[in-house]
């Protein structure tokens, strides 16, 4: 391998693109991981919720108020409400069932189909694009590479979310309830924690994060009904590699996959699609708890 020709190929621009891809993947993966860590539910519909975030933000800017930031917040919260409704109506009845885990996976898969079709029904199959907010609609040039300032913002916001989540889980009272319930549901319930409400709250939070990821990446990608199907697979890879239930794992995993998607094709023209799946298989076989185990670690 000739490194003198390879090294200049990785510009700072590629790294920024990779990290911004990783940031939006982190937002969906951390919600998925949080829900699994606390509720034990693998939410197949998480990619669909992410996609819904992008559509909600688009709908708000086009028909309610033409303000990007407001649209992102409203979009993310609306997705949270959808997630909470899904949890209360269809997942809650399954916690006590013996083979509940697989049933929950199948039920949430049902929502993949439903949300996918509803989106097509309301917004059609054509892809939409969203304008970059004016405040960040300029390019940054570092050395030979140029990239959109908005990507830097997305990276910063993801880091901020990571930090706040970590503080929230490890430093607040509610966070300690979440950690306690995650390690022993019955004990927490006996100590007076309202477990069903806490579960709904965590599902809401996880869905808000997915919606936030979707809404924030609307200016960076074309939004179409196929978006959810693609992104859920990336999210599964990330949470498995990082460890189901681990926030640090979701962060590191998301950045690895993001960078692999932006830089990978230059190194390994044939195989960059297969590598994440191969990594997923290897982690499941040799370290099923992931590279980083446990919530809040």
């Amino acid at each position: 391998m000739n490194f003198t020709t390879l090294v200049p190929l990785i510009g700072i621009g590629d790294i920024v693109v990779g990290l911004s891809l990783g940031s939006r993947l982190f937002l969906i993966a951390v919600g998925l991981s949080l829900i699994f860590g606390v509720l034990g539910v693998l939410n197949f519909a998480h990619g669909a919720l992410y996609m819904l975030g992008a559509y909600f933000a688009l709908a708000v800017t086009t028909s309610v108020v033409d303000n990007f930031w407001l649209a992102v917040v409203i979009g993310a919260l609306a997705v949270g409400v959808v997630g909470a409704l899904i949890e209360v109506a269809t997942i809650r009845p399954l916690y006590e069932r013996a083979e509940g885990e697989l049933d929950q996976l199948i039920v949430t898969f049902g929502f993949v189909l439903i949300i996918h079709e509803l989106v097509r029904f309301i917004w059609g199959s054509q892809p939409y694009s969203m304008d970059t907010p004016a405040l960040f609609d300029f390019s940054v040039t570092v050395g030979a590479s140029t990239f959109s300032a908005y990507r830097i913002l997305v990276i910063g916001l993801a880091a901020l979310v990571m930090l706040s989540l970590w503080l929230f889980i490890t430093r607040t009272y509610f966070g300690s309830l979440v950690r306690g319930t995650s390690s022993d549901r019955e004990m927490a319930s006996m100590l007076g924690v309202d477990v069903p409400r806490l579960y709904t709250g965590v599902f809401f939070l996880g869905s808000v994060l997915a919606g936030l990821g979707g809404a924030l990446s609307a200016p960076l990608q074309s939004t179409s009904p196929a978006l959810g199907d693609q992104v859920i697979i990336d999210a599964f890879i990330i949470v498995v590699i990082g460890g189901l239930g681990s926030m640090t794992g979701a962060f590191v995993g998301a950045m690895i996959i993001g960078l692999l998607q932006s830089i990978g094709p230059q190194f390994i023209a044939a195989g960059h699609i297969a590598i994440p799946f191969l990594a997923m298989v290897l982690v499941l076989l040799f370290r099923p708890e992931g590279l980083f185990g446990g919530i809040g670690e």
């Binding site: 693998l42 269809t90 009845p93 399954l94 083979e99 885990e101 697989l102 049933d103 996976l105 199948i106 039920v107 898969f109 049902g110 929502f111 993949v112 189909l113 439903i114 996918h116 079709e117 509803l118 097509r120 029904f121 199907d229 697979i233 599964f236 890879i237 498995v240 044939a270 195989g271 699609i273 297969a274 799946f277 191969l278 997923m280 298989v281 499941l284 076989l285 099923p288």
Partner: protein, 364 residues
């Protein structure tokens, strides 16, 4: 319940019992089904195609359910074996067709080639399933679903990557079955009616084989593992080994379904390996009722015919997924016995309790 409804029910029950005593025996019903299946071949061409597709998806779901309903392992990667079957047939037809024609002479070459292609395709699937299954059965529940999903998508990316030009990337491989001359007549192997009978024969034999498997001591061990892996292990069963064997058998039948699909659709497509195709088996099986032998068959029937029925209405066209999503959730939440369980309940209501005991197909 009002008196009127009670009256209707007793009336129907009386009608049902009368029908049974009048000789609606299992033999007669079987004969009727057989006549119906033959008559199906003379339906309009599109209907023959749809019914053939139903048979293939039914076998796909039956193979999948050997692992899910009978052994308790939910795979989200059986598309890999479906694609293994379809690509096996496509590659043999493309690359070995001329060689075989040289050996056996061009007259019957297409028949020999297709038969050989089916055999090789299933062998390829088994060769893939042996290591994939050996690794996957080490995991349970969600983790099993995830690793099979990963293996399936690994296969999908392998096909897209087109190593050595063997899989032809995103376009997939065109499957041409060719034609043979019988008594001066040119008979196309891919002819709708002929291919329907071929599929019917293979699917019926495979279904009978699966029926024998689940009702054998091997099947009894599967059910024991599904009910309680720990208890099965305590009885001296090598749970992991048995799951592995079931995995290979399950993949084999799914591979046959995939091989048949290549001939029907005239293409081996990378989509066959995608997780959304693996999900087809999950949806059909759950809707039909995973705890019944006939569940996947009835589920596949509902899946294809409801989809076709919905596509008749332009306003609803292409929104059939919405219906299946809602149905899937409703079945899992409130009606785990699925469509077959529903039919059995209905029969119990109509014909009274005495006939409900010969349901036969339950896995309980």
């Amino acid at each position: 319940m009002s008196g009127d409804e009670d009256g209707t029910r007793t009336g129907l029950a009386a009608f049902g019992s009368a029908a049974v005593t009048d000789g609606w025996t299992r033999e007669r019903i079987s004969l009727l089904v057989a006549i119906g299946l033959v008559a199906m071949a003379f339906a309009p061409s599109f209907q023959v195609y749809l019914f053939t597709e139903f048979l293939i998806i039914a076998l796909f779901a039956l193979g999948f359910n050997l692992l899910y309903g009978y052994t308790g392992l939910l795979s989200f990667g059986h598309g890999l074996f479906f694609a293994g079957g379809s690509y096996g047939v496509a590659i043999v037809l493309r690359d070995l067709g001329p060689v075989i024609a040289d050996v056996v002479g061009s007259g019957i070459a297409p028949v020999v080639t297709f038969a050989l292609a089916m055999v090789i395709a299933v062998m390829i699937v088994v060769v893939v399933a042996i290591p994939v299954g050996w690794l996957s059965v080490r995991l349970e529940e969600i983790y099993f679903a995830l690793i099979t999903l990963a293996f399936g998508m690994l296969g999908f990316s392998f096909i897209l990557q087109n190593p050595g030009g063997i899989t032809n990337g995103t376009d997939g491989i065109l499957v041409l079955l060719g034609s043979v001359e019988i008594g001066g007549m040119d008979v196309r192997l891919g002819d709708r009616q002929l291919y329907y009978f071929l599929t019917l024969g293979i699917v019926a034999s495979a279904t009978y084989t699966i029926w024998r498997i689940v009702n054998s001591p091997f099947g009894a061990v599967c059910k024991a593992i599904r009910e309680s892996p720990d208890r099965a292990a305590a009885l001296g069963i090598d749970v992991t080994h048995h799951r592995w064997m079931t995995f290979i058998l399950s993949a084999l039948f799914v591979g046959i379904a995939g091989a048949l699909m290549a001939g029907l659709a005239s293409v081996a497509s990378p989509y066959h390996a995608h997780w959304t195709n693996s999900a087809t088996a999950v949806v059909a099986t759950v809707i039909g009722g995973a705890t019944f032998f006939a569940g996947p068959i009835v589920g596949a029937f509902i899946y294809l015919y409801v989809r076709w029925g919905i596509s008749r209405f332009p306003a609803l066209e292409a929104h059939w997924e919405l219906f299946f999503g809602a149905l899937l959730i409703a079945v899992v939440l409130y009606f785990k016995i699925g469509a077959v369980g529903g039919l059995l309940l209905l029969r119990e209501r109509l014909f009274g309790a005495e006939t409900s005991t010969d349901g036969g197909g339950e896995t309980e």
